[in-house]
């Protein structure tokens, strides 16, 4: 047995976060772990990684007691992490990032110096292992999100890792890069390493894992061979109840729906090329495309955050491309950005202060919080930093609903949030569309687009490469157009 956890419990300030969690991972096995946010996955991984010590219970690693005092001890024992948040230094090169803590050294006149040549060689070997055809001297800031994630993987492989833990590794990967990652995981398995794979993407978990473990409220809710799990069973174990339909039923769009937002020939050098489309009242219009295809940039231009060389944007027939974001908001535009941490929320502020950011007012905010289903200890005092990802996202969405928008731009509205929160966000989107709000939904998840949209535009290298109507939705076809 590679890794054995025996009845691990942990509580913070008297609140139990993990209760009697036991698990095993054999060499060459992939254990898939799923669970809602707050189920205890992060705490469990932090215990494995030596960040916290368990209150009770013990761990064995390759038949020796494993009780790491700090992360470096965990690393020395061969436990490696690929984190959801990227822990790379953008200003350093790939090689420097890979060897940050243990550069190959050579002695010159008795002084330890960095052996740059050995570093470059080792780095190239690691980059080959993750199939990343880049020079080790490339600064990380020039890499795309997906490439950075692969560098993270290379970093985890670098010490002869016995246990590799992937925490939500595909959130920033394109379909192509994910496939590459899965190949790497299979090779790790073949080499006899034990892999723990944590993800909200249940299909990936099911596909990769030999065994599955579902955490709920700090306890093991279900575990067994992957073959015994369907996605429905995984979801109902995670949530603790069967969760009906993930995507709400939507009525077909009436053919006479009025045009609401029109983009005509939007062009910006190296970003967008002649992007033209119409969003109707009550329509959910999806935008598919790989990272870097211009989908987020398109939304930023529509909202007035980025400049645009040519083209027209009409809101209910009136041109708005010269207006500031503030004026566009006043005319009914709303924009849920891709990254709630960077440009969505005031993390130190409470829920109410965040909800009041767009439309300053003090009354009626509690009802908005209730409408989007935010759950927290204190709406006024508790900083949103302390909320789960799903609740944070509901706050970020809620601030746009204080006064109802006419057009809502959503960029990856369910990234990194759990199934329950996703279902609620889908329900809110469908309800808004029902009242005639036009919704532009940008997403990397094709299932999300086919589940929610009336029509999907596929972007490729800044252009609209295809427009697909609901009856013709097909995952393979969308992917083919996007590539």
């Amino acid at each position: 047995m590679s890794l054995l956890l025996d009845r691990i419990s942990k509580s913070f300030s008297g609140v139990p976060v993990l209760r009697q969690v036991s698990l095993t991972v054999a060499p060459g096995e992939v254990l898939g772990i799923a669970g809602e946010n707050g189920a205890g996955k992060s705490t469990l991984m932090n215990i494995l990684g030596g960040v916290f010590a368990p209150d009770t219970g013990g761990m064995m690693l390759e038949d020796r007691v494993y009780a790491p005092r700090d992360p470096s001890e965990a690393a020395a024992r061969g436990v490696s992490f690929v984190h959801q948040e990227l822990n790379l230094f953008p200003n350093l090169t790939i090689a420097e990032n890979l060897f940050l803590t243990d550069f190959p050294r050579r002695q010159v006149l008795g002084l330890p110096l960095i052996d740059r040549r050995a570093a470059a060689q080792n780095a190239r070997r690691l980059l080959d292992a993750v199939e990343l055809p880049l020079s080790p001297d490339t600064p990380v800031e020039r890499l795309s999100q997906g490439e950075r994630q692969l560098v993270e993987v290379a970093k985890a492989l670098h010490r002869d890792a016995r246990i590799v833990i992937f925490d939500e590794p595909t959130t920033s990967l394109t379909a192509n890069e994910s496939a590459r990652l899965f190949g790497i995981i299979e090779r790790l398995q073949a080499r006899g390493a034990a892999v723990i794979y944590i993800s909200h993407a249940l299909a990936d978990v099911r596909r990769l894992a030999s065994r599955i473990l579902i955490l709920r409220d700090g306890e093991v809710a279900a575990t067994g061979p992957a073959a015994e799990f369907t996605e429905e069973r995984m979801i109902s174990s995670m949530v603790g109840r069967p969760i009906g339909q993930l995507y709400p039923k939507r009525r077909p769009l009436p053919s006479d729906a009025a045009p609401l937002l029109e983009a005509c020939g939007l062009t910006h050098r190296d970003v967008l090329e002649d992007v033209t489309f119409t969003l109707h009242a009550g329509e959910v219009l999806g935008i598919a495309g790989l990272m870097g295809s211009g989908r987020s940039e398109c939304a930023r231009i529509l909202f007035g955050l980025d400049p645009c060389d040519h083209g027209q944007i009409l809101l209910s027939g009136a041109p708005i491309q010269r207006l500031s974001p503030r004026e566009r908001i006043r005319r009914g535009l709303a924009f849920l950005t891709e990254n709630r941490r960077d440009d969505g929320l005031l993390m130190p502020a409470g829920v109410l202060a965040n909800l009041a950011l767009v439309e300053p007012r003090s009354g009626g905010l509690e009802s908005v919080a209730a409408r989007v289903g935010v759950r927290c200890a204190n709406l006024d005092r508790q900083p949103v930093r302390q909320l789960s990802g799903g609740n944070q996202q509901k706050v970020a969405l809620g601030k746009w609903l204080v006064s109802p928008p006419r057009v809502l731009l959503l960029d990856e509205p369910t990234r990194g949030i759990d199934v329950g929160a996703r279902a609620e966000i889908y329900r809110i989107i469908a309800a808004l569309a029902e009242t005639g709000v036009g919704i532009l939904l940008i997403s990397s998840e094709i299932e999300e687009l086919t589940g929610m949209c009336d029509r999907i535009l596929v972007m490729r290298r800044g252009e609209i490469a295809g427009s697909i109507a609901r009856p013709d939705f097909d995952r393979e076809h969308i992917l083919r157009v996007a590539l």
Binding site: S13, R326, D343, L346, M347, P348, L357, V358, P360, Q386
Partner: protein, 316 residues
């Protein structure tokens, strides 16, 4: 302990404790003469610091406040002094000069704000250069000489007027921060400027306004200091820069933006003034006073991060 550490009245409690300990030990501390001296030292400092706090809340920093104080002092004095002033002898000299000083201060602050937002330069660099520029200009204007013979009507502001100005500024600033939309925007900009921009907060205008307030209040403090000295001085206020930052930080304003209150600032100012006063009475050398202030700022910062940790622990 935990409640005290996270209390917003921590600084006020510390100041009171400091006074309670020092008063019996230091002869002359609890006399009415000394106490009124303490208060008169506090008031103009409170006015500048409140302005600085506006900028700090918005996530910036204004290093030029003391230079603005000096430049306003000499320009005001140049306008109204009884010998060479443009309005020498004119009965309206004092009020016109006061308005002129306030205008100059607000304008200099506005320039700072525009430089920070339009040139996209870090506030530290912008206000460091404007500090040298404004300060140097003040010295050049007067050939480094003090200007006296100010109108008695102006010098009369030193007494009761100072108290009135400080009280009005504190109340107005408190209301603005707590109850106005501008106040909310200030905090939002300081916490996350990008999220604020996306949410339709006029981030640039808010930033420029914060620096303008800082400039305006520095000018108001300049009026008070100048009236008290009865002299326009090109180096006025140079020594208080450390006090301004110290009072703001001790008063719970975050140097990273998004946090700070008027009440906390007043407590911070009280604490700094008290420290100055007690060390002076002890006959401690001027340079040691600086060292002591450094230690106090450090302790305040440590307490602040300890409080943050206590608050944060409940989360994990």
């Amino acid at each position: 302990m935990r409640g005290l550490l996270t209390s917003r009245y921590l600084v006020a409690v510390l100041a009171a404790a400091c006074f309670a300990v020092c008063a019996p030990l230091i002869p002359g501390m609890a006399t009415s003469g000394n106490l009124s001296n303490l208060v008169w030292n506090m008031l103009p400092l409170a006015v500048v610091t409140i302005g600085e706090v506006f900028v700090l809340i918005a996530g910036g920093i204004d290093l030029s406040v003391t230079a603005i104080i000096a430049l306003c002092s000499v320009t005001g004095a140049l306008v109204m002094n009884g010998r060479t002033g443009y309005l020498a002898g004119n009965p309206a000299a004092a009020p016109v000069a006061v308005l002129f000083m306030l205008l100059v201060g607000a304008l200099l602050g506005f320039l700072n704000g525009c430089a920070v937002t339009r040139l996209r330069m870090p506030a530290f660099i912008v206000t460091l250069t404007t500090m040298m520029f404004f300060g140097g200009f003040a010295v050049w204007l007067t050939r480094s000489a003090n200007i006296d013979a100010l109108p008695p009507a102006f010098n009369g502001l030193a007494g009761f007027g100072t108290l009135t100005v400080a009280v009005v500024v504190a109340l107005a600033a408190h209301r603005t921060l707590r109850h106005s939309i501008f106040g909310r925007w200030l905090y939002a900009t300081g916490m996350n400027a990008r999220a604020s921009l996306v949410s339709g907060v006029p981030v640039h205008a808010v930033t420029i306004a914060a620096y303008s307030v800082s400039g305006l209040l520095a000018a108001a403090a300049s009026v008070l200091y100048t009236a008290r000295l009865e002299t326009g001085s090109p180096v006025l206020g140079q020594r208080i820069f450390l006090d301004v930052i110290a009072a703001a930080v001790i008063g719970g304003t975050s140097l990273f933006g998004g946090r700070g209150t008027v009440a906390g600032t007043l407590a911070g100012v009280l604490f700094v003034a008290l420290l100055d006063n007690s060390l002076n009475l002890l006959g401690v050398s001027f340079f040691l006073v600086f060292t002591a202030k450094g230690v106090v700022i450090l302790v305040a910062a440590l307490l602040d991060s300890a409080a943050q940790r206590v608050l944060g622990e409940a989360v994990e």
